[in-house]
Amino acid sequence: MDDFYRELIVERYKNPVYKGELDPHDFSYEDENPLCGDHIHIDVRVDEDNKVTEAAFSGHGCAISQASADLLLESIIGKSLEEVKHFSKEDVLDLLGIELGPVRLKCALLSLKVLKAGIYGVGELDEDLV
């Protein structure tokens, strides 16, 4: 059917692989998109070389925000935090494999925003930095 809600997105939304919480974790962060109530919390563990060993997200929201969190976490396992800092909007869209309008883009990028804010250890990240 419609290529937009690719099977992958609906599947990951219904059956996420990285959903959960990590305790203890090396850093964690959370944020929300007040426009639609999407909420994402991310926990990350890293090894001595600052490579991501484990990651998990919790929260709620639309299929796009939840699936993109799940796919994002999958793709950062084994990467160094330095590499993750270079993850871009395009990388997330590539993971989702779809094009998005401005409103849905915010849904798709919420997890990246949370992840980066966690890495940088900042309060709230300017959207432009994502």
């Binding site: 937009f4 007040p34 426009l35 999407d38 929201g61």
Partner: protein, 408 residues
């Protein structure tokens, strides 16, 4: 002209738009903004192509024609809501600015620390935030009529709130989420007895049913052109003449003055006192055309058509699995159906409907406190206007079935 469904649909060029291959636009988002009939678009084109000029101060032909058309639109609006005088019609950018105008002028002048302002839990942000800002500045006390589980104002609470002797009472004539049409006349009369001045947010009422500000006895009444077939960029503040006369001006600048010296000025007469700078001229003319169009159809026909669609919509949507209608059993409900689905987020619902050409809105609809009250971050909303048909609702239901198949 009465209610000629086919003609009406022909009048809106956008309804020919194909959203996706083979999927014609089904526009169910008129509560956010309405579509515009060709006559409204052409009225503005005529201004720009034939007699575009700045108004009020010009002697040349174009300026006189533009001034006459601008002021005629004011009179059309006056008649449409049955105000006593054209002086009571102030053009603003939108309903939001109209409310702010009252807050900045009447509010600052008349409200003091400890004064009570009564609002309702179903207000749009535009009828909340201006009062929150004023409350913070002046130390006012804001109180709220609760909304019942059913989605109506809990009028049992009203006497207690009016007992607080509020100076001001602001409420929406119709909720943009629940569709609730509030008993405005009764509310106003009770508030007046308690000594309150009353502002009514008519953003969702003036487009959809006949409003008579004199019969209602509203002190202030606000609405936006873009929701009633008119252009963006213009709204209306109605105020009783004696209230407007006693208010200080709002924005300063050209046109709102009678006389200016380096350090002092004398404000202009009503309504110009509240219209600073070059106004939205084309937009006023467009609004005039929209009012003519609605008046020709007849607001009673508009309301009847929407009630029919709403009844049909509720009947068709209610049986769908995983779906809960927000405010289903409201006694007096306008053409708005908001709902949640336990399997899919409203954004996903709206996007899947969009793939079928069906435009609905998803989100908090600028009514976060109402959503918070019911512990729902967002809803999907379908709303109806004169150009909608039962087939549009059938398309909506088909689209919702796809959502259910996908996420269910």
């Amino acid at each position: 002209m009465g209610f000629d469904k086919e003609k009406i649909i022909r009048d809106f060029p956008i309804l020919n738009r194909e959203i996706k291959p083979g999927k014609r636009l089904v526009y169910l988002d008129s509560t956010a903004t309405s579509q515009k009939p060709e006559v409204v678009i052409e009225a503005m084109n005529d201004y720009y192509r034939l007699y575009n000029a700045n108004i009020h101060r010009g002697v040349h032909t174009l300026a006189e024609e533009a001034t006459a058309m601008y002021e005629q639109s004011r009179v059309k609006v006056q008649k449409f809501i049955n105000a006593r005088s054209h002086k009571e019609i102030v053009f603003t950018r939108n309903a939001t600015e109209a409310i702010n105008l009252v807050a900045f002028t009447w509010g600052r002048q008349n409200l003091d620390a400890g004064d009570v302002v009564v609002l309702t839990e179903m207000e749009h942000h535009s009828n909340l935030v201006p009062w929150q800002m004023l409350a913070a500045e002046k130390n006012l006390r804001l109180e709220f009529i609760p909304v019942t589980e059913n989605g109506e104002l809990d009028l049992l609470e009203l006497p207690a709130l009016l007992n607080l002797k509020p100076k001001l009472f602001c409420f929406t004539h119709m909720s943009n989420v629940l569709g609730t049409i509030n008993p405005a006349k009764e509310l106003i009369s009770n508030a007046h007895k308690a000594g309150a001045v009353v502002l009514v947010d008519g953003a969702q009422s003036v487009p959809h049913f006949a409003v008579d500000v004199v019969d209602l006895d509203a002190d202030f009444y606000v609405f936006s052109a873009h929701k009633m077939l008119g252009p963006t960029g213009i709204g209306v503040l109605y105020g009783k003449e004696n209230l407007l006369n006693n208010m200080p001006p709002f924005l300063g600048g050209g046109d709102m003055i009678k006389k200016v010296q380096l350090r002092t000025f004398k404000p202009n007469d009503l309504p110009h006192k509240f219209e600073a700078g070059t106004p939205a001229i084309a937009e006023a003319i467009g609004l005039g055309a929209a009012v003519d169009y609605l008046a020709a159809i007849g607001m009673d026909h508009v309301l009847a058509h929407e009630k029919e669609l709403t009844a049909y919509g509720l009947e068709k949507i209610a049986p769908l699995e995983h779906l809960k209608i927000f405010g289903k059993d409201i006694t007096n409900k306008g053409g708005v159906i908001a709902f949640e689905m336990d399997i899919a987020h409203p954004h996903d619902v709206a996007q899947i409907l969009d793939m079928q050409g069906v435009a609905v809105r998803a989100g908090h609809h600028c009514a976060m406190p109402l959503h918070e009250k019911f512990h729902i971050p967002a809803t999907t909303r379908a709303s109806f206007y004169i150009y909608n048909t039962k087939e549009d609702i059938d398309k909506l239901v088909e689209g919702l079935q796809i959502v259910i198949d996908m996420f269910g």
